[in-house]
Symmetry: C2
Subunit: 242 residues, 2 copies
C-alpha cells in the first residue's frame, strides 16, 4: 500500500478523515508504523492525490487531516477485453490491470472459459472492487477502472464490438498470428486477450471481421497473469501511460 | 503444463521413458486425460523437444516412447540481476523468468532485502528448480535458467559486476531515473531490478559507476512480480526472444 485510498464516506467534515476499517488502520499502524504528526500519501478515489497528516490514532481508528493537491498519473490509452480467467488468476489480473493504469476492462465469455467461473464469488462487485483498489494503492493511482461483463460471446461481438473499434487501433493477442505485437502505442488502442488454451479459430475470425489485427508474442505459451503485464509492457509508451 | 519436461533419469532404455512421479503422472492422466495411443508434447531438460507416444498407463506410472526432433525456442538475450524478493513472490518470479526465456539470473542482497529471506526453504536448490521447471512446462521450453546467489552486495558489485557489463548493455530499473526504459532490445543486455522500496541511492550509484544506465517505468510503483514481465515485455524483441 504505497498510497492510502480514501472514499467520500471516510470524510467526517471538510478535510478531516476518520478511518475505522481494519485493513487500512492495521496497515498504517503496523506496516507503516505511523504516529500522530506523521504524513502519509493519500488519494481520493477518482480524484486528486496528496498528503495526510496523522492527527490521532487509536487501536481501531486513525484521524487524518488531508490536503489533496495533485493529479493521479495519466491513464493507459489501452482498453482491454479479457476472456474471463480462472477465479484465482482473475484476482491477480485485476490487481495488475488496475496497477498498470488500464481504465476500461471487459471480461468476456469464450468457448474455452468454463461457464462455472461466472458464478464465482470473486466476480461480485465488491470483490472486484477490492482487487482494483489494491492495484491503485500499490501503484499510486486513484481512478478505478470500469469493469464490465460480457457473459455471451456472440451478442457482445455482434452488437457491441464495432463501437470499441471505431476510433481506436484494435489488437488481439494470438499465438498463431504472424505479426509481432507492436511496441510503444501512444494512440488509444483496444487489446483482446484469450483464455488459457486461446480463443477458438472462429472466435479469432469474429474479432478479425470487426477490424482486430492478430498479434503474437512468439511461440512461448504464457499464463494470462504473465501475458497481461508482458503485453502491456510491450504496448505501452511511457509518456502517456505512466 | 503445456510440455512434459523429461529428465535423463526418466529414460529406461533408448527412447523409452517411464514416469513414476505423482506430479507428472496425475497431470497426464487427470488433466490431459491421456490414454495409450495418445501423443504428448515433451522435451528433454536442456535438450530437444518433440512428441511422446503413450504406450502404457497405470494409476502410478506412464510409459512413453519419445521422439525428440526440434529445438526449444531461442533464449532471451536478457540476463537479470534481481534483488531477492520475499519468498512467496520469489516463487512466482522464478516461474515467470523461466517462462519468458531468461537463462541467467542472479539473486542479490541489497539494503532493503530482509536478511531472513536468505534462510527461506524457498531458496533450496530443489525448490528453485521446481519453480523453474513449472515455467518451462508452461511456456514450452527445455533449457533451465542458471540461478546464482549474491548474498553480499558490495563484494558482488566490486568483484563481479564489471564482467557482466563487459560486452552488454546494462540497465537498472529505477523509478527516479529520467530515461524511459527502452523498447525491443535485440543485443544481449543485463537488467537489474531492485527490491520492494527500491535500491538505496548509494546502491544505484554503485551500479552506475560500473556502467549501468538507470531507466524508469514511469511514476507507477509496481510489485516485483508485475515489474518483471512488464520490463521484459518492453525490452524484448520478438524475433530473438520468442
Amino acid at each position: 500500500m504505497n498510497l492510502i485510498l480514501l472514499f467520500p464516506d471516510d470524510f467526517t467534515h471538510g478535510d478531516t478523515v476518520c478511518l475505522r476499517d481494519r485493513r487500512r488502520v492495521e496497515h498504517i499502524l503496523r506496516i507503516q508504523k505511523a504516529q500522530s504528526g506523521d504524513r502519509l500519501r493519500v488519494g481520493l478515489v477518482n480524484g486528486l492525490m496528496g498528503e495526510a497528516l496523522v492527527t490521532e490514532t487509536s487501536a481501531d481508528s486513525i484521524h487524518l487531516s488531508v490536503h489533496l493537491q495533485y493529479r493521479p498519473p495519466p491513464a493507459s490509452p489501452i482498453s482491454m477485453i479479457l476472456a474471463l480467467p480462472r477465479p484465482p488468476m482473475l484476482k491477480r489480473c485485476l490487481q495488475t490491470i488496475s496497477a498498470l493504469g488500464i481504465k476500461e476492462l471487459i471480461l468476456l465469455q469464450s468457448a474455452r472459459v468454463e461457464k462455472s467461473y461466472w458464478q464465482s464469488p470473486q466476480l461480485r462487485e465488491e470483490k472486484i472492487r477490492e482487487e482494483l483498489v489494491l492495484g491503485l494503492e500499490q501503484s499510486c493511482d486513484t481512478r478505478l477502472p470500469n469493469v464490465r461483463f460480457a457473459k455471451r460471446f456472440r451478442p457482445f461481438i455482434e452488437d457491441e464490438l464495432t463501437e470499441h473499434v471505431a476510433t481506436r487501433q484494435a489488437l488481439i493477442a494470438h499465438p498463431y498470428a504472424s505479426k509481432p505485437c507492436p511496441h510503444g502505442q501512444t494512440a488509444p488502442c483496444v487489446l483482446a486477450i484469450g483464455p488459457e488454451g486461446g480463443f477458438l479459430d472462429q472466435e479469432i475470425e469474429a474479432f478479425s471481421e470487426r477490424g482486430f489485427t492478430g498479434v503474437t508474442l512468439g511461440e512461448r505459451i504464457l499464463r494470462v497473469e504473465t501475458a497481461v503485464p508482458y503485453l502491456l509492457g510491450r504496448l505501452s509508451d511511457l509518456l502517456p501511460d505512466c
